[in-house]
């Protein structure tokens, strides 16, 4: 396997606080790794080390074939970075932002202009191209930021929380655009606090917490790790809740878990459709009026709860 990003034992401390405690990552060329973790997990620190902006206290990282510590310039030639805050120059227009970057990336005067026009069109910013970016919405800024990190068509791209703080529709637009980029064979490392985002965009997910990778795999593998399917049962009347739960305790693999609201609970079922049928029959026999009966695959929220023992907020 040809890894475009490889990190081994990255550690970094700020005064007495350990931001990274030995991060290991490997991203195959042309794939997307989602680094998923709560606030303060060490996502930004990892990205900044891989993008040559910070030095690790120890550990080793190779990006696009070059060591980040020994050949930072070579690495910088091959990466695009969209940091946690949309880094656009507010006093320039969208077009001026991109042309400046194109010039700095040695595309030449005309080359920089052509590339800017192309990216503005691709990110649906042509109409706003000649407005100061100060007047852009959050979603437009993010799109420009994404365009900015693609000016030189880098083979490796880092996106640090690309949709944090956006409304759902801007987020969906950005997801679509990120997916279009990925289709062109770029290697992407993106960080996110949204489980859904990692699920939608990433080929593999690394879950980080307290500066270490606590789990790694495809979204499906992670879900499987947490266990089989959950049955979510909602009763019509709150008073039937405990009766329903005890009716199902014979088929459940684990004690039922009550959800907030007092009318629903979920049980972990053993594999196979037979269990679902048995459960339905058990409720039927007990004569309980059921408002909802749904089979749910574990979400990444469950993955997180399972791995860290903490609710993910």
């Amino acid at each position: 396997m040809n890894a475009a990003i490889e990190a081994e034992g990255l550690r970094k401390s700020y005064s007495d606080h350990h931001a990274l405690n030995g991060v290991n990552l490997s991203v195959a060329a042309g794939t997307v790794l989602g680094v998923l973790g709560p606030n303060g997990a060490g996502k930004t620190t990892t990205v900044r080390i891989l993008a040559t902006l910070a030095r690790p206290d120890s550990g080793r990282a190779v990006v696009a074939g070059h060591d980040v510590l020994r050949e930072p310039r070579e690495v910088r030639r091959r990466i695009g970075l969209a940091g946690q805050y949309a880094a656009v120059d507010e006093q320039l227009t969208g077009r001026e932002n991109l042309v400046l970057l194109g010039t700095l990336l040695r595309l030449g005067k005309q080359g920089a202009r052509d590339r800017a026009a192309e990216l503005l069109a691709r990110f649906e910013l042509t109409d706003a191209a000649d407005r100061l970016t100060r007047t852009y919405s959050g979603g437009m800024r993010r799109r420009l930021d994404l365009a900015a990190c693609l000016v030189s068509s880098p083979p490796v791209v880092f996106l640090d929380e690309p949709t944090t703080g956006l409304d759902p529709s801007s987020r969906a637009t950005l997801w679509r655009m990120i997916r279009d980029q990925v289709a062109s064979g770029v290697t992407v490392l993106l960080t996110t606090q949204y489980l859904e985002e990692a699920d939608v965009l990433a080929d593999r997910i690394a879950v980080v917490d307290h500066g270490v990778v606590i789990a790694e795999g495809t979204p499906d593998e992670l879900k499987r790790k947490v266990g089989a399917e959950w049955l979510e049962v909602t009763v019509a009347h709150g008073r039937d809740l405990s009766a329903a739960a005890s009716a199902l305790s014979c088929v459940a693999a684990m004690p039922p878990r009550e959800a907030a609201g007092g009318k629903s609970f979920s049980v972990r079922l053993p594999d196979g459709m037979g269990a679902v049928a048995t459960a339905a029959t058990a409720l039927e026999t007990a004569g309980i009026e059921i408002a909802g009966f749904a089979l749910r695959r574990p979400s990444l929220d469950d993955v997180f709860l399972h791995l860290t023992g903490q609710e993910h907020s």
Binding site: R48, A51, T52, L53, A54, R55, R73, R76, R77, I79, G80, L81, G83, Q84, Y85, A86, A87, V88, D89, E90, Q91, L92, E96, L100, L101, T103, L104, L105, R106, L132, A148
Partner: protein, 262 residues
């Protein structure tokens, strides 16, 4: 080498666009010195007397130095702000020479300062300031002021990279402006200062630069105390500026390389 030039030019272009969009920045570095010209040079000109000439001729050097001091706060706040919003990270992640980024920033702010010094000098000339030492000498005085400004800009860069908080820098830049202007002979001869303060003010580089400018422009001088700085202000100023640059330039570059947004 050619590439560094392309980068620097492109980045200077960026700062010039900023200046075109917020021309009030010129006001920011010109307002205080201009007020000094009008209040001290016009309203109080006759009230303040200096040995061997007109007070306006004495203070114009100080006004020039004050433009440089106003630039310190301006560049420091600009740097701290771009550190905060992630722009510094974007530029640092490019294969661009990092020197080009800092040189472009300081050179464009030097242009801003030059505009400020021009405005203050024209107003001074309207009020009757007439340096009469010949074109070369007068130009050398302005050259020294620009050199001083350039060194102060690197100092401001370092300040911005170390302090980080635009709010704190706002307060600090006021302090730099006032302390620099009045703990030196920029506006008031040092004769009246108490002993120890006088020594401090005398060795203040701003005093050396102001005195050297007065010498080059033929203005009235502060009384000499016999110390090296007051006897030979021009060489003293050049040595001091070289020392400050030798400290601030490498420190700023290092701070920029290691900058962590917070």
């Amino acid at each position: 080498m050619n590439g560094v030039l392309v980068d620097t030019t492109a980045l200077i272009g960026r700062h010039l666009l900023h200046l075109r969009r917020t021309p009030t920045r010129i006001l920011g570095v010109t307002l205080t010195p201009l007020t000094m010209v009008l209040v001290l040079g016009y309203m109080l000109n006759k009230a303040i007397s200096v040995r061997g000439g007109d007070y306006l001729g004495y203070m114009m050097a100080g006004v020039g130095a004050q433009v440089a001091l106003a630039c310190v706060g301006s560049i420091a706040i600009g740097t701290a702000t771009s550190l905060r919003n992630g722009l510094v990270d974007r530029f640092r992640s490019l294969p661009t020479s990092r020197g080009a980024i800092l040189v472009a920033h300081t050179v464009s702010d030097l242009g801003l300062a030059a505009i400020g010094i021009c405005i203050a000098s024209i107003v001074g000339a309207l009020l009757g300031w007439r340096p009469d030492t010949g074109v070369l000498s007068i130009a050398a005085g302005f050259g020294l002021l620009l050199l001083f400004t350039y060194v102060m800009l690197w100092f401001g860069l370092l300040l911005g990279l170390s302090v980080r908080s635009p709010e704190a820098l706002g307060a600090l830049s006021g302090l730099v402006l006032v302390c620099g202007s009045f703990l030196s002979n920029a506006f008031v001869p040092l004769d009246g200062l108490p002993g120890w303060l006088r020594v401090v003010a005398e060795w203040n580089p701003i005093s050396a630069v102001s005195s050297a400018c007065r010498q080059l422009w033929g203005g009235p001088m502060s009384a000499s105390t016999g110390s090296v700085v007051s006897e030979h202000p021009l060489p003293a100023a050049l040595v001091m500026l070289a020392v400050i640059a030798a400290v601030t330039v490498p420190l700023s570059c290092r701070a920029y390389h290691a900058a962590e947004p917070r």
